[in-house]
């Protein structure tokens, strides 16, 4: 898990609606997504008409990111995180947390700050300030 929900898990107090996850964008891996999400009726939220998520190996090979809407809200599946790198780099810079549904890996706070800074968006300014304050507090500075 990366993005705003990872920031929340680290302690940021701001509300966020969409869940961003980083996935390995190989066709084999992406082909597991429709069945994993089938109960949540996922659709592509960017194209007009919002077609249901139905992947073929050929189509899956062409995706770099997937922007989905599900019954539970927005889910963005990202193949690369700006400022951090691809799935392997993200995995290497992640930490495991325990959630009621089981263990979950979230982007580590240093990498999350880098990712938010790399995006250069005004809306992330408060998130970055809070993350830096959390870094400082948890390191006992």
């Amino acid at each position: 898990m990366v993005g705003g929900f990872a920031a929340v898990a680290h302690g940021v107090t701001l509300l966020t609606q969409d869940i961003d996850v980083c996935c390995r964008f190989t066709p084999d891996n992406l082909m597991r997504l429709p069945s994993a999400l089938s109960d949540l009726h996922p659709v592509h939220r960017m194209p007009p008409g919002r077609p249901p998520l139905r992947l073929t190996p050929e189509a899956a090979a062409g995706f770099r990111n997937l922007y989905l809407e599900t019954d539970w809200g927005q889910l963005d599946c990202l193949g690369e995180i700006l400022g951090v790198g691809g799935y392997d780099e993200v995995l290497a810079q992640s930490v495991e947390i325990e959630l009621p549904g089981g263990p979950c890996r979230i982007l580590a706070i240093d990498a999350l700050v880098r990712a938010k800074q790399a995006m250069g968006r005004d809306k992330d300014r408060e998130t970055i300030l809070q993350l830096r304050a959390i870094q400082e507090r948890t390191r006992g500075h």
Partner: protein
């Protein structure tokens, strides 16, 4: 006692320009990150409370806040349609 110096290009580039750029540095750079967030307007008591929770508890509290915000939005949209 200070000796007077003539204004040479080296003096400008090595001494005066760095001093000038020093005066333009954002003062928040020298603050602690906690103080910078507070000065920006972040509610640090909320952050303190959150840091006492586990990650799972933070996500649960966030979920409650988000559900309340979405319920308010739905109520306002219903009101707008009804008016």
């Amino acid at each position: 006692m200070f000796r007077s110096q003539s204004l040479t290009p080296e003096l400008i580039s090595d001494t005066i320009l760095p001093m000038a750029s020093e005066t333009h540095r954002d003062p928040s750079d020298r603050r602690s990150a906690w103080a910078a967030a507070e000065a920006y307007g972040c509610d640090m008591s909320l952050l303190e409370s959150n840091l006492r929770r586990t990650p799972a508890e933070r996500i649960r509290v966030h979920g409650r806040g988000l559900a309340a915000a979405l319920a308010l939005r739905t109520a306002m949209e219903s009101r707008a349609v009804g008016s």
